[in-house]
Amino acid sequence: MKRFCLLAALVVGFGLLGGAKPALALVQIDLTKGNVQPLPIAITDFSGEQGVAIAGVITNNLKRSGLFAPIDKDAFIEKNLGLDSTPQFASWKVINAQALVTGRVTPQPDGRLKAEFRLWDVLEGKQVTGSQYFTKPDNWRRVAHIISDAIYERLTGEKGYFDTRVVFVSETGPKARRIKRLAIMDQDGANVRNITDGGELVLTPRFSPSSQDITYMGYAGEDARVYLMDLNSGRREVVGNFPGMTFAPRFSPDGQKVVMSLQQGGSSNIFSMDLRSRTTTRLTTGSALDTAPSYSPDGRQIVFESDRGGNTQLYVMGSDGSAPKRISFGEGAYSQPVWSPRGDLIAFTKRAGGQFGIGVMRPDGTGERMLVSGYHNEGPTFAPNGRVIMFFRDPGGEAGPSLYSVDISGRNEQRIPVQGYASDPAWSPLLH
């Protein structure tokens, strides 16, 4: 019996082992290394009038994003691919395209323009997405931007930022007598339009979330005032009538409030004003210089710069002014903070060791890193998808500043091709 039990135990033990399933023949691999390369994409000229121009705007947008590598049209093997034909995928594979865009523009009897496109996955040999848009003929650029966003979103998963505008200060004239006007343009530098006439000094224009209004600072006489301007009508009004000078206005995410700094005596404090009731609330107190406020995307917090601790640093407080907390601790002076629309980062200008740079940090102050640094870089603004930052750079000397963009990893710095000099950019939300 004893031996029997012993044997039993052994048998049971082996039985358990025996129960182990044979494993399937399966190679299992963990892949953590790939190529961070732009996706090779072929964008064929759209058929129809303005088709070539639309394809050109799309190509330019995707290329400048840094995530796509449009293939030179001369390399295409299959030519004149119409919107309704199925591409010969093999010929696109040969030139290494992984995605393919075809399209067509057709004038409609009612005078509108119909623009359609298809996005193909070359390797799978299938259409990925396609859409059609109707618009006024003058608006063909916007359609190109909207199509660019559709392609970008489908292939990266992120929302696009091409159908947006940027308001900025356009500068002309010699350095000693620069004329500054408010201007607005498409994010790619096209369609520049002046909004003010240059009669007064204008600074720090900012978009409302509805993107029909902008707020900016202008000097009327000797006083600096914050203004609201309706882009469509051109009407403008002064925001509040405070004694003292008001600076650095920004909208709240719901568009209901404008937050700004008001200088009285030797200090400046942050105030918010409700645009409907016109009531103002003081958010910071003290004798320091508190300015450049920026709301978090959920509207619950405000980041601002203050020299209350000595040199200028960044602070975060509740949108009611409660519990201000310092978040920047590096060497140097931090200013002009702006909260990303994604909520994950705060961008700022930092002056240290004789250099000006644009950096980002998490809202709790950790993870600080610089994206660009040099003789001069300032005034960051985020694209609506939180991935790209625009800023301006003054090379010094007699030349004037220009606008640049860089992505939040610090890669893909690009100059925005605007005529003349430009500074103080502010990015609108997506227009569609």
């Binding site: 019996m1 004893k2 029997f4 039990c5 012993l6 044997l7 039993a8 135990a9 052994l10 048998v11 049971v12 033990g13 082996f14 039985g15 358990l16 082992l17 025996g18 129960g19 182990a20 399933k21 044979p22 494993a23 399937l24 023949a25 399966l26 190679v27 299992q28 691999i29 963990d30 892949l31 953590t32 290394k33 790939g34 190529n35 961070v36 390369q37 996706l39 840094g66 995530l67 992984q98 996955d121 390797l123 799978e124 489908r154 292939l155 990266t156 998963g157 992120e158 994604r342 994950d344 890193r369 939180g386 991935r387 939040i408 990893s409 610090g410």
Partner: protein, 355 residues
């Protein structure tokens, strides 16, 4: 009953069962062992040489290998005939592997393949285990009755005798072995093919009874045990049919061969994989499974295995699918097709988007 008076026995048996059970559970679905480093002393042969070696000679002594399970082991624990190490060694060294009874050319190559476990022609030129037969002894503890997944721990010396005789038998059997091998082979023949590695060490009967024990049916269980025994080694990854090709030389792959094939697939995919570099994408991993034809091209559309509510997941998943499609056809050794015909890749960009 004696047990009452010997509680220690009961306790001991219970603990043994528990330990075996736990280890069985732990081992029953082993994670692939990515063993990159093998400290086996190896002799490097070119695939051609090895092939010649493993082809064997018609005049070689044919060892009736028990149909050792052609085991495509995940973890190469084979004991390349540890015993007679010194002799084996010499034999191994000389390319004339007479010992290796891999009767490739002869009868079922498949079978023998397993024994050798070294892939006859590891395309990757990993030193065939053959050469190391002698050395590896220490390595391959496999026969340990306990399924020791551990890559061959050196226990071997003491074991060598046993393990050798096991299915490996065929391979290395150094001259001195042959006799022994024959004996063992005979014994092994009794056992349901192979796997038995461990069986060898353990009393065959015990193995036979591996199944849930039923005292009254032990005899019946004996016969039934075979199939499960195959699995029970824990090293058994495939059943016979999958091992090797009909004409192939060895189907069994050593750890280094497997990792070489894995590495080739990984490196190739790495060059094809181009995930969109977007914020937050570094947290989105995508698991893809695909089946390959013998020529390395895709058998069917690759499949995504995981899901994620994140809006960026689809774009990452599609970039993983694009990578697989772009990389097809894969250039992999046809003779090991059974090993790499199904691939599952976890595309994990966590380290890619620095900053």
């Amino acid at each position: 009953m004696n047990l009452k008076r010997e509680p220690g026995l009961v306790v001991s048996a219970a603990f043994h069962v528990l330990a075996l059970g736990l280890s069985a559970g732990a081992l029953s679905s082993p994670k692939p062992f990515n063993v990159q480093v093998e400290s086996l002393p190896v002799e490097i042969l070119s695939p051609k040489e090895f092939d010649q070696i493993t082809r064997g000679e018609k005049t070689a002594k044919s060892v009736t290998e028990t149909k050792a399970a052609r085991v495509e082991k995940l973890n190469e624990i084979e004991t390349p005939k540890p015993d007679a190490a010194p002799l084996a060694k010499q034999d191994v060294v000389t390319p004339t592997r007479v010992n290796t009874p891999k009767p490739q050319p002869q009868d079922d190559r498949a079978e023998d393949e397993d024994e050798i476990e070294d892939k006859p022609k590891p395309a990757k030129t990993t030193p065939q285990p053959q050469p190391k037969v002698a050395e590896p002894e220490p390595k391959k503890p496999e026969p340990k009755p306990e399924p020791k997944l551990a890559e061959a721990k050196p226990e071997p010396k003491p074991e060598p005798k046993k393990p050798d005789t096991k299915p490996e038998v065929k391979k290395e059997p150094a001259k001195p072995e042959p006799k022994k091998l024959d004996d063992i082979a005979k014994k092994l023949n009794e056992l349901p093919d192979t796997k038995a590695q461990k069986a060898v060490s353990k009393p065959a009967s015990a193995q036979e009874n591996a199944k849930p024990f039923d005292a009254s049916k032990v005899a019946a269980l004996l016969d039934k045990r075979e199939p499960s025994r195959t699995a029970s080694t824990g090293r058994q990854v495939q059943t016979t049919a999958s091992l090797g090709s009909a004409t192939g030389t060895a189907a069994k792959l050593s750890v280094s061969q497997r990792s070489a094939i894995d590495g080739a697939i990984r490196d190739h995919l790495s060059s094809c994989w181009n995930p969109p570099y977007t914020a937050g994408a570094d947290k989105l991993n995508v698991r893809v499974r695909f089946a390959l034809k013998q020529d390395g091209s895709l058998e069917a559309q690759p499949q995504i295995l995981n899901t994620n509510a994140d809006p960026m997941f689809r774009a990452q998943a599609e970039s993983a699918l694009r990578a697989v499609r772009k990389c097809s056809p894969f250039k992999l050794p046809a003779e090991h097709y059974a090993y790499w015909q199904n691939v599952e890749v976890n595309f994990d960009p966590k380290d890619m988007f620095g900053g």
